[in-house]
Symmetry: C2
Subunit: 333 residues, 2 copies
Amino acid sequence: MPELRIDPIIGRRVYIAEDRAGRPSDYSAHEATGRVVSSAPASPAAHPNCPFCAGNEAYTPVAELTVSDAGGQWQCRVVPNKYPAVRTDQPVEGAFGAHEVIIESPEHLLDVTRLGLERLTAVVRVYRDRLRHWAAQPGIRHGLVFKNSGCDAGASLEHIHSQVTAVPFVLPVVERELAAAERFYGSQGTCIFCDLLQRELAAGQRVVASAGAYAVVTPHAPRQPYEMWLLPRTHAARFDQLADGAIEPLAATLLDALERLQAVAPGCPYNLLLHTAPFDDEHAASYHWHWEIVPRLAHEAGLEWGGGVHICPLSPENAAQRLIHHDGTTATT
Amino acid sequence: MPELRIDPIIGRRVYIAEDRAGRPSDYSAHEATGRVVSSAPASPAAHPNCPFCAGNEAYTPVAELTVSDAGGQWQCRVVPNKYPAVRTDQPVEGAFGAHEVIIESPEHLLDVTRLGLERLTAVVRVYRDRLRHWAAQPGIRHGLVFKNSGCDAGASLEHIHSQVTAVPFVLPVVERELAAAERFYGSQGTCIFCDLLQRELAAGQRVVASAGAYAVVTPHAPRQPYEMWLLPRTHAARFDQLADGAIEPLAATLLDALERLQAVAPGCPYNLLLHTAPFDDEHAASYHWHWEIVPRLAHEAGLEWGGGVHICPLSPENAAQRLIHHDGTTATT
């Protein structure tokens, strides 16, 4: 039986309709029903035509930042996006901003979990440092770090990479959350995300991980099967202000969540999306940075595009169970 | 050089970045760059396993409505969705509503333009009549007609069909337009869509068709290459109030627009989305019904999901030129 869920932060409407996962389909190569994609990618050691592989640095612009290992081999390179949505040489009322690519390994890896903890920690540090860099630039007001993993999540290249965008306005997705968080703070005197996290941890039904400084939950009203939110358990509005000592525990939690996703849905395309406050301290008390991990298993169709309402073929409670037990097929509550 | 566009109705931000169409890609089977998909589908005369083909009526629920030809063969069937997002037996605060499938041909056609004008007119009449039916039901406040054409547009079955949804709340996509239209009406005393249409017709740069009672334009800030909006040239808020005599001209305009899309992007997946006022007359003066034709050529990725900002790799001015000249490759303005 379908169920209407309303997101407690921004009011997004989602119909949870698990029997839709059994719909017949003419399109066996595509997964429109929330079932598991089984095309777990191989990771060849080298790829002669990949512009992100070591040895092919000439195919990308000059690096803004490079992180190297003890032997001098770069492990992570930040380069300007060759096909940017925004540019720093544009007028501030136009397509002004920064758009960078973070190349996350010198080898042709297709899955960021293959990096292991130490190397992923270095990548997460770069996420923070690039935002910190852009936060200090004149005219820049807000930033986004995102990863498109897999073609169905919008990636054009498979070699693991993320992107950083910094713009002179507040990004609409976060703007909507900021408004809701301000309203809640005004009436309740506390952060709406802190409140949500306490209630989720107390209820337990949608908790995927909660040891340490971070928690991972499946949201009450997810847009996609296995959608997860990763939040710091202690209140903090700006990701770019993350302390050095908090980076490795964050990378460990992120690695764990992404490994769980790969276990239940091998090769699953997904977006990793940072939600962080604008680069000022206006929302320090009310907003709470977090990462969204949004698998792209269910196609967005007419109801989403024409109505603004989502249909999700897997409940977040069942998703949490499967993610906890690393089992995409047998857990059913 | 990328360009920031802001939608004049709801303020959506879109970066037009045409050089992104030249990005290298590891995913040749998928089109993430706005290039033309060349997998124009065949239309076999019969398909033994298709639940929408004549002869397979037992695979679908009993029809709510059937339109037949002079020989008694049904041409269009409306059936309850077997995997609904909403149901009429749910409480009104839950997943309450109607969710129907309109099967648009007895043959296994894959492209609605194959119907020709007379049969498409009958289908458009069904769109109106189903909305008119649901508008009269207690507890129902708003409706949506949509078509998902192609797997990448969210279709699970390829046989031509559309869907009707009717719900007890105002759908968020239209709610946002209603608010903008009310504000504009309050300050300007006229409909924002009428105003936009007059300016588009006067400027001419984005006009695809304007003969007769309807106009087709490419929007100033499109989310996708070849996105089109089809509007009545005379003000009207509710599609369900469409007069009988207005149906065939509308079908002709729709057919023309979809044929143009197939000419420039054969086999292109797309959503056809009705935007109409809620089933009351509160917005009669300020709102203006219209159809959006949204191709699904560019994948929505992190910037869209995490930022709420779109990147479109084809300007609407160049899109209009190509659509007018039926040429996906040579027109560049």
